[in-house]
Each structure stands twice: as structure tokens, then as C-alpha cells.
Amino acid sequence: MNEILQVKHLKKSYENNEPVLKDIDFSLQKGEVVVIVGPSGCGKSTFLRCLNLLEPIDEGSIILNGETIDRKDKNVHQHRQKIGMVFQSYELFPHLSIMKNILLAPVKVQKRNRKEAEKEAEVLLERVGLSDKKDAFPRQLSGGQKQRVAIVRALIMHPEVLLLDEITAALDPEMVREVLQVVLKLAEDGMTMAIVTHEMEFAKAVADRVIFMDQGVIVEENRTKNFFAYPQTERAKQFLNTFHYEALEI
């Protein structure tokens, strides 16, 4: 087994509240794409944020390449470079051009050669169809374009795992596709990803495995085809049914 990321008995609660995550076990193989679905407030976003060490955890461990990692580690910043993340809100840096947004971390954090990084950035921008925007500023881009840049900005760090947290949730419907197509291409190229999404058709297309979460626990975990065709639990069936519409007979 070639496990990149492993989570054991993860527990997390916010102050004085019902726990958000109750005893989560999870693993991610190299090159695997796992999609996490579930109703709002089930803890899936919190889970991704824990993986990127943005949120402190109460119990359990997160293991990256066989090494237990923690928010309080001295080299937490190095861990984070290996785990790329793209968020729901377009969080490009508004004061920098697209190219500078992409180059900031590789040049200043990883101390890479600017020229070399710039070349790679150009290749990546080309791949997401935004070569002509490299000198533009974030405010001049549409939401879908910004999210594609955010993906490039995460990719140029050469992360071993990419976490995508509802990256199309704030987009207009016609922009969803252009972003998800980029993600599909990444999956094809063998990128290891954990994706939280509400786009079920996209989940079907991109995922190797689906995890269904509800109320802080993993309710069901299955191969993608099986999950959508034959959900094992009543809760998952109910959830999937909410995406079906049938005309009412009046």
C-alpha cells in the first residue's frame, strides 16, 4: 500500500459545542481521488481544514508519508507546502498580479529560482487556459478564472496532496464547468486529491472512492460506482435522493 495521507481517530470540537468530527479514520493512496460528500454542517470542510493543519485537532493523528504531523510542529510550514489547498472563496492576493500571485510562495518560501518558477507558471497557466491573464490583477478576472489561478498557485508548490474545499460553491453555474474540467485533467494526470463538493455528477466523474459524512462521522465509504448505484446505508440513500427531482403530478 502506498499511503500518502492517513488519519487515525481524529476528533475535533469547537469551544463548548457538540463535536464536529467524531473519531474519523481516513487514508489516501498515492494517485487516488477521494470525494467527500454530505449535508451542510456534517464536518467535511472542517475535516479538510484539519488535514491542512489550519484547525487544531483535539485527539487523533494525521500522518503524512509515515510521519505524524501537527499544527504545533516547528516545521508546520514545510508540511503545509506538501498539502496544497484551494478554498471556496477566491482568495487570491488582491494587490499582486496573477503571475506574482503564483510566484510568491515558490520564490519566497521555497527559495526557487524566479526564472525557472516563472517558466513553470507559464506552462501551468497555459494548461488552465489563462496564459493571456498573467499580468492582470485578480479584480479583472471572473470567479471561475480566479479559481483556476488558485489551483495553479497551489500546484506550483508541487504538493503531494491537493485538498479542494467546495471550490465551485461560490461560482455562477456556467463557470463551474471550466473549473471542474481543470480538476478532471489533474485527476487524469495522477494528482492525489481529497475533494469536498456538492456537484454529484462531477463526483461521479472524478472520484475513485466516495466518502459520505454526516454529523461528524463517516457513514459510508465505497467505490464511486457502487456508492451512487447501490448506497449501503439508509442515510446515504436519503442524501442522494435530495438531488433527484421528479415532476409532481397534479
Partner: protein
């Protein structure tokens, strides 16, 4: 022509002396402002830390500076230091210390406001890219706050330039004091000199402060969107 007070201005080096006095004023204000900007950024960053003790101390500092008149602070530093600590600092140094003390508090509060106004996800995405706290502040947060801070900072500078006239009272010879000397020296020959000299000083302050306040307005408009 004997009674026209303006001629006093052109006797000897009077006019040049006034500009020299203004230079002292500006020097104090600009040095104090420079230090205030640097220290204010540190203070502002400190004020955003979620720590009760740090919060209490910075809050106390800010309120103290706001409650005490600058004149009291000047006397405290200039005479107090000499009397109780045996430190003999020059009036100008005392003035720079006091104005920095005041400016840092005001600037710190401005920086704090600007830092809090920066969306949380800006910090998170910088962190997500592996930046540490300093890199996040230096490359991502501070450049974004500067544009928001420029207009109020320029405004603070003009307030500081005007408030420096208080340093006369601790014996610093700046523009108002020079004016007073000129008036006193020509009191018998030209009794109307006071009006003219103060009028000129008024215009001199205006010449220095007006561009700054225009700049502040212009920056405010420019960064509005």
C-alpha cells in the same frame, strides 16, 4: 513706509530664520512620524494578538496617550527626565520622543483596524501556501493594509506638524519661537510686526500642510474602489 510691519521680515536674516525655524518643526514631525510608522506597525500587529495581557497593556497605553495632553507629556519627558532620572536630553530629542510616543499609539490603532479589516481567508491562503507568520504579514497582509492606511497616516502627519508648535514651551526654537523673537526685537520700531510675522507663519504652515492634506484626499479617492 515707516509703519509697514512687513519690512521687518526683510531686515537682516529674519526671513531665512523663519524658514530655518520651520525646518526644525518639520524635522521633529518627520522623524517622529517615521518612527511612529515603524513602531505603529509593530504595535498594531501586537494589538491583534488574542492574548488578554497583551491586549490590556496596549489598550492602557493607547488610552493614556489619548487622555494626556501632548503638552503634559512634553513637560513630563523634558523636565521629569531631568529632575528624576538625571537625564539631560535636549528639547528637540524630548519632542521627538513625545511625538513618537503619541504617533505610535495613533498609528498602532490605525494599523490594528486595517489588519482586522483584512479578510481572514487572506491569512489562511498564505498559511496554506506554507508561509510563516512573518512572511504572511510581510508579503501578503501589510502590502494590502498600506493602501488603506495611507490617507489616515498622512492626516496624522499634518496633525503632528501643527502640534509641534507646543515645543516652544520646552525651549526648542522652531518657527513660532523665531517669529516671537523677531517681533520682540522690533517691538519699539515696528509695533505692527506681530500681525505680519504671524501672518507669514500662518502661510508657511499652510504651504507645508496643504499639499499633505490634498495628498491624503487624493489617496482616499484613488483607493476607494
Amino acid at each position: 513706509m515707516q509703519d509697514l510691519g512687513i519690512q521687518v521680515l526683510f531686515q537682516g536674516r529674519n526671513f531665512i530664520r523663519l524658514w530655518e525655524g520651520l525646518w526644525v518643526t518639520l524635522r521633529i514631525a518627520v522623524i517622529a512620524m517615521g518612527l511612529s510608522v515603524l513602531l505603529g506597525f509593530l504595535l498594531g500587529m501586537l494589538m491583534t494578538i488574542q492574548n488578554r495581557t497583551v491586549r490590556c497593556i496596549t489598550r492602557l497605553y493607547l488610552e493614556t496617550v489619548r487622555i494626556l495632553p501632548q503638552l503634559v507629556l512634553l513637560f513630563l519627558v523634558y523636565f521629569g527626565a531631568a529632575k528624576h532620572l538625571g537625564l539631560n536630553i535636549s528639547g528637540e530629542a524630548a519632542a521627538i520622543i513625545v511625538f513618537t510616543f503619541w504617533g505610535t499609539a495613533e498609528m498602532g490603532d490605525l494599523v490594528r483596524g486595517a489588519l482586522i479589516a483584512t479578510p481572514k481567508h487572506q491569512y489562511e491562503s498564505a498559511g496554506g501556501l506554507g508561509m510563516n507568520r512573518w512572511q504572511t504579514y510581510f508579503y501578503v497582509i501589510i502590502p494590502q493594509t498600506i493602501r488603506r492606511l495611507l490617507p489616515p497616516a498622512v492626516n496624522l502627519l499634518t496633525r503632528m506638524i501643527k502640534t509641534t508648535s507646543l515645543v516652544v514651551l520646552i525651549g526648542v526654537v522652531e518657527v513660532v519661537k523665531v517669529g516671537k523673537q523677531i517681533i520682540d526685537a522690533s517691538r519699539y520700531q515696528t509695533p505692527t510686526a506681530a500681525l505680519w510675522i504671524y501672518g507669514v507663519i500662518f502661510i508657511m504652515y499652510f504651504i507645508v500642510c496643504y499639499p499633505f492634506s490634498r495628498l491624503s484626499l487624493w489617496l482616499e479617492k484613488k483607493y476607494k474602489n
